[in-house]
């Protein structure tokens, strides 16, 4: 279980980092999504791994329980990363439509345009 979870975080992070170093916006956004998956799985593990245990304390008897706080944190993180992904997709799409290319880097041409556009 631990090995599976740890390797899942590792593989997702590695794939995410590889993708965010690409030059076009689409792979970069995919990479960012993979990284947020990795961090979500990682946050789950911070409450220690417990199988088939309820996320609440039992007042009447000693039973194993799983820490509910990381689950709340993950939920927050999922919502935020979902919203952020939607934002970057929209901004990247409008950048692609207005520049007619989807390179993520600013080229020398862009900087020339920048000086010209503001004038």
């Amino acid at each position: 279980m631990e090995a599976l979870l740890a390797s899942a975080v590792g593989v997702l992070t590695a794939a995410g980092i590889f993708l965010i170093l690409r030059r076009r916006t689409f792979p970069v956004i995919l990479g960012l999504s993979l990284l947020t998956y990795a961090v979500n799985v990682f946050l789950f593990a911070t409450g220690r791994l417990a199988l088939n245990a309820p996320p609440v304390l039992n007042k009447y008897e000693e039973v194993a329980y799983t820490d509910p706080l990381p689950q709340a944190l993950v939920l927050t993180a999922i919502v935020i990363s979902f919203g952020m992904t939607a934002v970057i997709v929209m901004i990247a799409l409008s950048a692609y439509l207005s520049t007619k290319n989807d390179h993520i880097d600013m080229t020398a041409q862009d900087n020339v345009d920048e000086a010209g556009e503001d004038a």
Binding site: A45, L73, M84, I88, S98, E114, A115, D118
Partner: protein
Amino acid sequence: MNHWIVAPIVLPAILAPFIIMVLRYHLDLQRIFSVAGTVGLLGIALTLTAQASTGEIQTYELGNWRAPFGIVLVLDRMSAMMVLLTAVLALPVVLYAIGSGWDERGRHFHPLFQFQLMGVAGAFLTGDAFNLFVFFEVLLIASYGLMTHGGGAVRLKAGVQYVAYNLLGSTLFLFALGTLYGVTGTLNMADLAVRVAEMPAEDTALLRVGAVLLLLVFCVKAAVLPLHFWLPASYANAPLPVAALFAIMTKVGSYSILRIYTLVFGPDVAATSGLVGDWLLPAALLTLAVGTIGILGAQHIARLVAFGVIGSMGTLLIAVSLFNAEATAAALYYTVHSTFAAALLFLTADLVISRQGGAITDKTPMAQTGLISCLFFAGAIALAGMPPLSGFIGKLLVLDASRSNPDYPLIWAVILISSLVTIVGLARAGSLIFWKSHETRHNPELEPGNKDEEVAKPAPEPDAGLAFSAVFGVLAGLAMLTLFAGPALEYTRSTAKQLFSPAGYIEAVLKGDQE
């Protein structure tokens, strides 16, 4: 409980949706409400600062949940000061945006502006590390909208980079918080401080990893050297009034460094002692050097100011990284100064760009060149740290505070040489933009007919009077900071003293809930 503490978050949080839903098609009403909200925020911030200046640390438990379990907002001297700084900066910026017509160039400027204020105020007030992350996201998502406000291909492209970089930063923040939670089992800052101090010394490897990851996140926000690459392109391509407001966002990074690394991983904590300062000081020195070189090499006035922001963050973090009370007092004073200086220069740069474009070359003269060049001159004096403005006092304090550090010759050399280079860079830009342009005009050979005359007379700015008074407002802020340097310093000194005795903070947060 004192309900004023939550007001700086609640006021913009209510105002922004109200503007979106009710005043969507009424720009005039949006402007009125946005300015009124900002004035209200200023009033609240003044009240809070007056309360905090007594030295008492107050807490506000959201939902009345007890401290380590629920989220608390904490009002101490530093958070009150930073909220006040935000409000004081926001007022001239919103007035400038209205006066220069920037808020008409796209939709929803005012709601995004209010959401930005909410995020910044929340980040300064919160006493919970995960809540800090949430407020970072609030201020970031509003900043994405503001940064791409008005559209345009280059701005959108820069926006993609900015968003991608900050999403990476957020991911890193979550990894850091996860590590800290895994080791300590809490995310409340005061509770973290207690648990970290109790931790056995041989079991701190993961804790140190968490501490350094968190430092990296704050360094991304504060644009410290190897992590500063997002800043020049984003700030230079953002609408410049927005960039002026973003001057406070880098300070959110330096604020968080000060907060976490005095409270949780303070200088007395054995597990992480020396870890932060040792890394931060060289990085800050390099940041200052690179920012200064950027000023010297900038081809565009907005980029020049953006590198100026990086340089001033370098000076600020040099003071922060010394981690003693005297240096921290200097750092807090310099925080206020550098925020105003950056905002003044960004707004002046916008005045220049709207009249003659931003490239630093000799071009045709612009309207109101005398007034604008005076503002640029004042901003340059402030940024370079020359007398008579407050940058001089700030740099002097930083230099004085670093005397006790064994590396002080290096620190002095970097700060003094970079000041000189900054002066050279700003003088080059100023003389090209303001003096050379006039030479061109009066040189009959270079004036081919009426072509230049047309360019020389730009369309009259809408309500330029308001824009100018906003910029002069920022300048007045700098002047006040210089005139009242004594009381300001007294406040920052007692703030630093409060920061370096974290017991009071911990007691206020954890004890206040037993009742």
